[in-house]
Amino acid sequence: MQTSLMRRLAPRNALYFLLFAVPGTALFAVFVLWPLLVAFASSLTNENFYRVGTSFVWFENYGRLFSDPAFLQTLRNTVILTLIVVIVPNALGLGIAVLLDRVGWVFNAMRAVFFVPVVLSSVVVAVIWQQMLKDDGIINSSLRSLGVTDPPGWLSDPSLALFSVSGIVAWQAVGFCVVLYLAGLQSIPKELLEAASIDGAGPVRRFRGITWPLLAPSVTIMMVLSLINGFKTYDQVKVMTNGGPGVGTTSTLAFDVVHTGIDSGAVGYGAAKAAVMFLIIAGISLVSLRIMRKREVDL
């Protein structure tokens, strides 16, 4: 009786299907899935904007990728940038969140401050920092007035620019981490901490024994998000260095994909880079999803 009633009431009529399932699915198929398939397909061709005649070359583009020093440099840049963007903001963000986890108007106001970069466009962030870091910008002119005769060219020195760009991406991510870790810290029941301190645990002990394990899910989430965002970095590179100085010294995967496929017109080769990028990000997402599921079971 119960099941037959439920079956009868299950929303199955045609209008419902047409209105609820079809529009979303259709849009998703046309504007997300189809372009992905097209990208894969064109990665198997030698198509180029500036050349007539396109032929099917199977996996030639992929073979070329991994012997292309420019692409290997892009990969290395992306990995370095991502490592910085995962480690620095998470460490700093956690520290600042612990510092900020108090009540009082000062602390409430400071919390709001850390929200600001989260809302800012990465273009804004890139322009501000570019202005500060340029050779005669505020940072170098301050260094000069402090007696440094030859301050570094933060964005003009090919060996330094990648680290400057990574630092800026990291700076914006700090705000994100602080906000998320504060939410995590405040969901920890204070009774636990009180009980521990009654038992004589000091602040370090309490952090290691209670706060850290209970914060672990937030840390995992934030690490995964930073990892994926790091691999997707485009805006800051485009705005601040356009891949330079020199050739490709700050080029990242996303930048390289757009640069090769759209700006330089090497459609097939760019699509192969896009496919590699998709596989890397999908791989990270799937592995981290599995880790998080496992963790949920453990908790």
């Binding site: 009431l9 199955r12 009529n13 209008l15 609820f20 399932a21 979303g24 849009l27 998703f28 504007f31 997300v32 899935l33 189809w34 372009p35 992905l36 990208a39 064109s42 600042i96 510092l99 900020l100 986890d101 108090r102 009540v103 009082g104 000062v106 602390f107 850390f114 929200f115 970069p117 809302v119 466009s121 990465s122 273009v123 804004v124 322009v127 570019q130 202005q131 505020i138 301050s142 998320l180 504060l182 939410a183 969901s187 204070k190 901490l193 301190s197 009654i198 000091g202 989430i221 997707k232 485009y234 705005v239 994909v257 757009v258 759209i262 699509a271 896009a274 990028m277 998709f278 799937l286």
Partner: protein, 347 residues
């Protein structure tokens, strides 16, 4: 007064423990005045995003508060050292934003001469300049940005809610397939599909159009909304919908009058999350709208710096103006932002 008397009775025996705790924390014992601490604790209440569910749980709110007022270790009155440390760290962290806002009010000459200091001759001239550019870059960008953000956010949120309802409440191969392919959408970086999208929009005659960009956004952000809504919908008792169905409402009416109103908190999360992301997006409007047919405010900033690097005051003023609308929206919906971040990320 009443409350503190109550606390004395209830917590009288814990006073030695507190001393012990203070010793453990290495701070000098503070007088246990409930006066200054009471309001502080209450000041946490309005900020719902800081107030996790576990703490609101149960009807023992006042007992909870009382215990927090007196027995808390970690949320007690912070020491001077910590306050100073927080102020210094925050000041260093926020310095670039300070520079942005400050220099937006300065003349070009002053920016070069005193980059980090406020000067006597602060001026709104940069803002006037940004707002009255002959090509109307700011205003056309603003119109585009508002259009794109509002329409794409609302359409994507509504479609995601409906699709999520279908996925949660229906059975069969079709919803099952959706459960596989929709999460896939979260893993596709925009850069990878841009070129095929560009050509498809050209074939449709939508290249360089706001409408084309909106379609791309609605579809691309659907997976995030679906994930948040499906998680949330599972917490809505099915009986509610069954009751409506027994009363004769069809699935569409049931959704619109029963389910949709209940989705409000999740909907707010999705809306603020998408709106911030779309307003600030750079690569899609840069490529899809192209150079010819106007821009969004975010791409407009980029166009400005590539065009006259000499006058940074005007660029900064433009950036402040371009950021204000989304900051205002964010202030109203910020507590939902963190929730959206958590729910979207956790799944």
């Amino acid at each position: 007064m009443d409350e503190s008397a109550g606390m004395k009775r209830k917590w009288g025996e814990t006073v030695p423990v507190r001393t012990h705790r203070d010793v453990a924390l290495g701070v000098s014992a503070q007088p246990l005045k409930s006066g200054p601490q009471g309001p502080e604790v209450q000041s946490r209440e309005p900020d719902a995003y800081k107030e996790p569910v576990t703490r609101n749980a149960g009807a023992g709110g006042s007992a909870n508060r009382r215990r927090r007022g007196k027995g808390r270790i970690d949320d007690g009155r912070p020491g001077l050292g910590r306050t100073l440390a927080v102020l210094v760290v925050t000041a260093i962290f926020i310095y670039p934003i300070y520079l942005l806002v400050l220099n937006a009010f300065k003349t070009q000459e002053d920016i070069y001469r005193y980059p980090g200091l406020p000067t006597m001759s602060l001026t709104a001239q940069n803002f006037v300049e940004a707002l009255t550019r002959p090509d109307g870059l700011f205003w056309s960008g603003l119109v585009n940005s508002v259009q794109i953000t509002v329409i794409a956010t609302l359409a994507s949120t509504l479609l995601a809610a409906m699709l999520a309802h279908f996925m949660v409440r229906s059975k069969g191969w079709f919803p099952k397939m959706l459960w596989v392919i929709i999460p896939l959408g979260l893993m596709i970086p925009p850069a990878t599909t841009l070129l095929p999208l560009l050509r498809m929009l050209r074939d449709f005659g939508l290249i360089g159009s706001v409408f084309g960009l909106i379609l791309v956004y609605v579809a691309g952000n659907l997976p995030f909304g679906v994930l948040v809504f499906t998680a949330f919908m599972r917490t809505i008792p099915k009986e509610l919908e069954e009751a409506a169905a027994i009363d004769g409402a069809g699935p569409i009416r049931t959704f619109w009058f029963i389910v949709f109103p209940l989705l409000r908190p999740a909907g707010a999360s999705v809306i603020i999350f998408l709106a911030v992301g779309l307003w600030n997006d750079f690569v899609s409007p840069l490529i899809i709208l192209g150079p010819a047919n106007g821009t969004t405010v975010t791409v407009g900033m980029y166009r400005q710096i590539s065009e006259h690097v000499s006058n940074y005051g005007a660029v900064f003023a433009y950036m402040v103006l371009a950021t204000v609308p989304i900051v205002i929206l964010f202030i109203f919906l910020q507590k939902y932002f963190v929730k959206g971040l958590l729910s979207g990320a956790a799944k």
